[in-house]
Symmetry: C2
Subunit: 234 residues, 2 copies
């Protein structure tokens, strides 16, 4: 029997790294095929097993199938996206407008992962210094779900161009519930080799070796083999 | 050759789910064995391949081996932890004080993952509505690293009981750099079967089926098979 102290096999470890490196923020490749309840349950369990400060588990999951609710969220996106486009100028604005940034109606399932800012009462273990640790914990749940989806062959996109107060109203959220992530999920025609913003020349991947510091900020790595290893793999 | 569109094998998918379900927030089981440069490079690459809004990649990584820097961070923890303990009363305070909440010196490696709040300039694609999306993106990098560490047999703990301004000073961070996560990493004597706070009776895991809503907040799931599937797996 595999216990939690059995080392990962090569294939198991490869699976984890594949999910990490082949995950994409999907907006355009969604297929209409439904996600089965068994698969969706595995994704939700994956999110629910994220770490959380003081084990507060501040998340809830709003599973959105209703076309009416999704259409109202799409309208909110379009309003914000229009404002966003106007912040760029000239050629950059044209390029911005040519990007597809959501798959709210094409994906068969939307999911809002929320954060209950009051869960666990006023004194949550580990949350005394940094109040935002509840939001941060909820992000970890989002990433668990994103990776689990990838391993199941399901693409996911995070719609961040949306006014959170309007989104809360559209989903009837109580005041203490923050709609952290609005997600679109579905099987896909393909997973792209590169992030879409990279492939389309919007931004490039930064060289990792320029982002690693030794002991304190701005000190170059004094570890030669590490420096070589992080430059190699770019 | 495995391309990114080859479905995951059973073992690969199992590896992803094992990492998610067998990951722990480690404070007490660290071994002193060093982490090789090759393994550390894989962990940093995993973090660097997290999703980020507008592909802004706001993270940096401060690899902390210096015992002096770690001792100064431990002192910051102890100061905050003393204050935190005083927020609990009676038996709960005693129980709080009995918990070990960091492994700063026992672990062979500390790592601070920071967020550059100015990276990508004032108009980052996807960040117009929610300014905190840079912090949220950095959290996704933390979770990638946490899961990759687990697959490598390495435990990790997140030290959140720390004053961020004091931590910034200890690490010489510039003003626009936020120290999002202070992490302790190392091989472990064992991974516990349950989260430590659960095993010690501090808090229980919430039943997932009480956290899932249909279409809008507070509406019960109308999907019977999904309801059964998320209750089953508890």
């Amino acid at each position: 029997m595999t216990t939690s102290n059995t080392p990962f096999s090569d294939a198991e470890r490869r699976g984890l790294y594949r999910a990490i490196h082949e995950r994409r923020d999907v907006r355009s490749q969604f297929l209409p095929d439904p996600i089965s309840s068994a698969v969706l349950a595995r994704l939700l369990q994956a999110a629910h097993h994220a770490p959380s400060v003081g084990f507060m588990q501040p998340w809830d999951f709003v599973v959105i199938e209703s076309r009416e609710v999704r259409a109202s969220v799409l309208a909110l996106f379009e309003e914000e996206n229009q404002k966003a486009a106007e912040r760029f100028e000239g050629e950059r604005q044209e390029r911005y407008r040519s990007l597809k940034l959501q798959g709210i109606l094409e994906s068969p399932l939307n999911l809002c992962i929320t954060c209950d800012r009051s869960r666990g009462g006023p004194h949550v273990l580990g949350r005394n210094s940094i109040l935002e640790t509840d939001l941060f914990s909820t992000c970890l749940a989002v990433q668990n779900l994103w990776l689990a989806a990838r391993a199941e062959g399901i693409g996911m996109g995070w719609v961040s161009i949306i006014d959170q107060a309007q989104l809360s109203a559209a989903l009837n959220l109580p005041e203490h519930i923050y709609p952290l992530a609005y997600l679109c999920l579905g099987y896909v025609s393909e997973f792209l080799d590169q992030p879409e913003l990279e492939a389309k020349g919007w931004r490039s991947r930064l060289p990792l070796d320029e982002l690693v510091h030794q002991d304190t900020w701005g000190q170059a790595l004094d570890n030669g083999p590490l420096k070589a290893a992080i430059s190699d793999r770019e």
